[in-house]
Amino acid sequence: MEILMALVVGGLYGTGVYLLLRPTPVKVIIGLAILTNAVNLLIFTAARLTRGHPPIVEETLGRPSYPIADPVPQALVLTAIVIAFGVLAFTLVLFRRAAETTEADNLDEMRTTDT
């Protein structure tokens, strides 16, 4: 399972990087979303996988029934998912506004430098 997950992480990273390098705004944003998913999956996998045992304290035992999945990366990833949504939403409307204001349809036209 770990090797399978590593392959999925690698595939998602590759796709995300490739999409971020596209000049079309929508593709860049989709790339951002995929890259976020890849990172979340990486953090989740790095803390070891446990099938079918959520980190919940059994009411009768007063403790979880070991082995359980590690709760710490889950808490981190949960935060990350929500924050990533905020970032994505903001990026999306920002690109929309930029496209409308500059009337440019690709990122190479939306550029300014100091020189």
């Binding site: 996998t45 959520p54 359980i68 496209a99």
Partner: protein, 767 residues
Amino acid sequence: MGYAICSVFLLALLAPGLTRIAKPVSGWLMAALPLTLCVYFLSMLDATAGGLTLQVTWPWLPDLGIRLSFFLDGLSLLFAVLVCGVGAVIMIYSADYLADHKCLGSFFLFLNLFMASMLGLVLADNLITLFVFWELTSLTSFFLIGFDHDRDKARSSALQALLVTGVGGLALLAGLILVGEAAGTLELSELLQSGDLIRQHAWYVPIVLLVATGAFAKSAQFPFHFWLPNAMEAPTPVSAYLHSATMVKAGIYLLLRLSPILGQTALWHGMLETVGGVTMLGSILMAIRQTDMKRLLAYTTISSLGTMVFLIGLDIPLSIAAAISYMLAHVLYKASLFLITGIIDHATGSRDLSALGGLFGKMPVIGLVAILAALSMAGAAPFLGFVGKELFYEVVLMAPRAAPLSILAALLTSIFMVTSAALLTVRPFFGPARSDRLPHGPVATNLWLGPLLLAGAGTLAGVFIGIIDKSLLAPAVSAVQPGHSVKPLALWHGFTPVLAFSILTLASGIAVYFRCDWYRAWTENWSRRHHYGAETCYERLYSGLFTIASRLTLIIQNGRLRNYLLTVFISATVLVSSTLLWNGGIRFPTVWTSVNFGDLILAGIILAAAYVTSRVGHRLVAIVAMGVIGYGIALIFAQLGAPDLAMTQFSIETMTVLLFILIFHRLPLFSRLAPRRAMRFDAVVATAAGLLMTALTLAAVSGPTDKRLADFFAKQSVPAAHGRNIVNTILVDFRALDTLGEIAVLGMAGVGVWALLKLWPKERRKP
């Protein structure tokens, strides 16, 4: 002594206010303090003449060995007296000279700041303290050269002076730090005892080169000389004070001060002799070409500074006395001549030597003062300049190396110096009068008083050279050469070869004066054909720096997102993969979680969807594929004991897809913009990055793991947070503040989204 410096700094701060309140007497107000300080320093003459030194130390950065420490011996006393004495004269003069200028207050502010810094420089004991004051004089010089800041030329000259002396200052700082490291102390008073230690140190050569660079840049020695003529853009009192009497002497002071520590080696003597010799002869040849009085004075100043450097470099005991007498004479006559130039400029509206004439009848006092100063400059008896030049010849005739060359250079320099003195006085005062270039009215007392005092002092010092030598010059010389007994100076040495040289110099100088126009025409012709020099070099460097900077910026900051990202991804991939390969980081897990058929299907769907997003040409399909990836990951979370993650991922992914679909029809269509080659290159980079991440994931799951945090939360979840879902208790209890922060971030993102969607400028409101 420390309070003396502080008091001038304080006066600088009060200067603008005082000038506003009492403008008519502001010059005298400003002069009161330097006069007092001058008397104070003169009162210590007896102490230093007896060989005593005074020390004051205030702690500053004791851990780094940096102290605000000052000491006074014969040499610093001479310079301090000059700084305060000439300073007082300049203050009185400036108040009248710049009476109509709207910024007289800030002029006094900068001038007093400079005076305080210069005093600090010559009194400093600690080398770092010395350096700080050294740079402060450069800074104040920058402000004073660019005082008429609405003129382009003034601004660029100020910047040039600052850059040249600033580069020298950096070299000096490096040199001084090396001195401190080599000797183990930064205090000059202690270093004076440890000259042998430094001369034998492995760093001796870099120390000498760095320190000398700093001194040469400050004292306008070749090849740094070009900033000084340009600095003549400053108001004339500034030129008189900073750029002839004091600031440019800082390099001379430093060389004199350090010659017991760094001197007496072939490198020291050879370098100072060569640079000083080239400077003194080269710039005096430039001087007599000039028709602007101030530029002529500037070039003769460089030449005199060159002579001083040359004399300090000569390996003869008498040469230090010669350098110091030459310097004192130069300060007195040159400041006086500068101030007279300012008066002529004000009165006639011109300082062009070819346009001026017949001024003696209109301003006889000024004329007499000018003649006194010019005679001292020419080295005629009985002026102080005569003593300086006699010593110069006496020392050069004993030169141990390259004597014929040195004698020739000295002779030519002195001859042309006589010519320059004649150029400055003969035609403007006694030449044919020009009706349009005659003074409008009488010259104010405050204006002619200063030059008179300075030129008078030069004359009296020449006549009473015995007294001046005993009280002022000899203590300064013995501070540089402890233990040497130098024979007392005198005006008359009898009929010696030196006297013959002096007479020859005067006669030839006057002869050259009558041939001067021919020389000017010849050099004019020559310089029209040859355009190279240190200044051209500086300008090329200066503009080259800007060209390189803008080209570099265009490469690094090209405005293309793809290039920025490629830089990041390629460097990260290459660096991390090479480290991984180098250190054997590629590992495979030994303990596996089991895989079932459903997982394989799920991974296949995710990877297929990912491929679709990167290849498809339709936006809606790409968005749907993105949603498939998100849902797939949610299912993985659900399989692997993370129901909370799965639920969050489901709802967020749904919202993301909805948001995309709401917005995307307003975004530009997909179009194939990138050329095929670029796409292939990106695919290679992306594949490499993906492979690297796979390897990193495998490496991460192969190493040992730490479950202490997980155990802590599992144990504490119920007793501390009263919740059975451990992930929930972590989020809303153990790390509640983090979650609050996250909510704030989301809130701000929401406000931003709303503003970007709804707020438009009035004239183009969107539906």
